[in-house]
């Protein structure tokens, strides 16, 4: 692999600096944000590079667990942050965490133990990148699914209550919204699967190929990760939607929208 130096990066960053100037001359007012975001990106990634090489080197299960937990809670927090209507108390973050751990985490452990079988199974070089990819994708889908669910429940309150009034159960009355939420969450995943290999060259594969891996081998890894992503996003969304829609009703099957607060 051909290495690039920090000087190369510094030179390249001059591109974004120039871009900011050009955009500013054309009336773009968020130049500062652009520069700041670029700086943040570089700092975060550099920090992660140092941190990860340290965790890889240490090969201590505790560090791996710690990194995993940080990634998991950040994903759970991001899910709740992206909701227009949030479930009160801890439930917003908690639902996301539960859905993520039941799918991404379980699938990851399963695939490490039974498929890839590194020695030891928690070897950070495999565990952390895979976890990152599963979490990133699941997080987006779960976020979209939950957001659609709660937003629809608020907007379509009359349609839910009309069904309750006819003696339908809470579950039955939420069915049409559940379908919409699953649809909204799964469409991007299906699009990703369709585009892979024709329109987009997936990031993981690209990385491996750049690092000198055989493209045929890189493709196998990519297919595996795609299968995992599809499964974990679908199941994760289903779990999150199920828990959240239960929380919208009380023990007498009454719609209680006051558990939601507008962000």
């Amino acid at each position: 692999m051909i290495l690039i130096s920090y000087w190369d990066l510094l030179t390249l960053s001059f591109l974004v600096f120039l871009l900011g100037g050009v955009l500013w001359l054309n009336g773009f007012s968020q130049v500062k944000q652009l520069w700041w975001a670029t700086l943040r990106m570089a700092a975060q990634l550099l920090f992660m590079g140092v941190w990860l090489s340290w965790v890889f080197y240490a090969e201590n299960v505790l560090w791996v667990v710690l990194v995993g937990l940080v990634m998991l809670s950040a994903a759970g927090y991001e899910i709740s942050k992206r909701q227009q209507y949030r479930l009160n108390k801890f439930h917003g973050v908690w639902i996301g965490l539960l859905a993520l751990s039941f799918t991404s985490l379980m699938l990851l452990i399963g695939v490490l133990v039974f498929v890839i079988q590194p020695e030891p199974w928690y070897q950070p070089q495999y565990l952390i990148p895979l976890l990152g990819m599963l979490l990133g994708n699941s997080m987006t889908s779960i976020g979209v699914g939950l957001d659609t669910l709660t937003r629809s429940a608020v907007q379509l309150k009359a349609k839910i209550e009309a069904q309750l009034a006819l003696g339908k159960t809470a579950k039955q009355s939420m069915q049409f919204i559940k379908e919409q939420s699953l649809h909204a969450a799964m469409i991007p995943v299906i699009n990703m699967l369709v585009a892979a290999g024709i329109i987009s060259l997936p990031g993981m594969m690209t990385g491996q190929i750049l690092a000198g891996a055989d493209p045929a081998e890189a493709v196998k890894y990519q297919i595996m990760i795609m299968l995992l992503i599809a499964t974990s996003t679908g199941l994760g969304t289903l779990i999150a939607i199920e828990i959240a829609s239960r929380r919208l009703f009380d023990d007498r099957q009454r719609l209680q929208l006051d558990v939601l607060s507008k962000a």
């Binding site: 379509l156 009359a158 349609k159 209550e161 009309a162 069904q163 309750l164 009034a165 006819l166 003696g167 339908k168 159960t169 809470a170 579950k171 049409f176 239960r246 009703f249 009380d250 023990d251 007498r252 099957q253 009454r254 719609l255 209680q256």
Partner: protein, 229 residues
């Protein structure tokens, strides 16, 4: 969502021979200013009126157990809390002022298609069942929502200004239809008691209406309840 419905044991017991069909005691919910006591007998049609903001709709929703409330309600002597929610609502049914439809055709909302006599009695065409809810007028939907609910054969109808969007002629049709509905004895399969068989009527209505003429047409002054500030 915890309550599981035990169909056999939780079915509301229509064998009970109390004259009171629906009894409401000290019912209070947000928007209702004073606790409400009410006893409705089978065959009765009550009118509920009062200026806006006195919680009339809230009261009906609370009786149907659609919103949290304090106080108690009984149907045929059986307490609301002892019956699972969906069964209570099928017997004590709330009809909203603004109807809501969640599927693509009117027909899909019905558990069984309304008979042509029913449609005709309310001045509706058979073909309306194939339409999309958005392409029906609010007055048509109001009458369709009534039939949609009546398919479950509720004992008490809680009507929230359901003729507000109707022309005078259709309003009269709905009134006659509903008066007939509460006077009709329960079908053979529903009759478990000889006492009810003799009495005939086994249903009742509590109707929010602002139309004074409608009050006169439908209910005795003593069956008119006014909610005040």
């Amino acid at each position: 969502m915890k309550t599981k419905c035990m169909t056999a044991s939780a079915t509301i017991d229509s064998a009970n021979t109390t004259v009171e069909l629906l009894k409401v005691s000290k019912l209070l919910t947000t928007g209702v200013l004073k606790p409400v006591d009410l006893t409705i007998q089978a065959g009765q049609l009550w009118i509920l009126s009062g200026i806006s903001g006195t919680g009339k709709s809230q009261l009906l929703k609370a009786i149907a157990d659609l919103i949290p409330h304090t106080g108690q309600a009984w149907l045929n002597g059986q307490a609301q809390a002892d019956v699972c929610a969906e069964q209570w609502r099928q017997q004590v049914m709330y009809f909203a002022a603004e109807t809501a439809w969640w599927l693509d055709t009117i027909m899909e909302h019905f558990v069984e298609n309304p008979s042509s006599q029913q449609l005709e009695a309310l001045g509706l065409e058979q073909s309306i069942l194939q339409k999309h809810p958005d392409s029906c007028s609010s007055g048509e939907k109001q009458r369709l929502a009534l039939l949609r609910g009546l398919a479950f054969n509720p004992k008490v109808l809680l009507l929230d200004e359901i003729t507000a969007n109707l022309d005078p002629e259709s309003t009269l049709k709905v009134e006659i239809f509903l008066q007939h509905y509460i006077q009709t004895p329960l079908s053979q399969s529903e009759q478990t008691s000889s006492a009810l068989q003799n009495k005939g009527a086994a249903r009742a209505i509590l109707w929010i209406s602002h139309d004074v003429q409608q009050h006169q047409r439908l209910a005795h002054p003593e069956l008119q309840l006014v909610l005040n500030k």
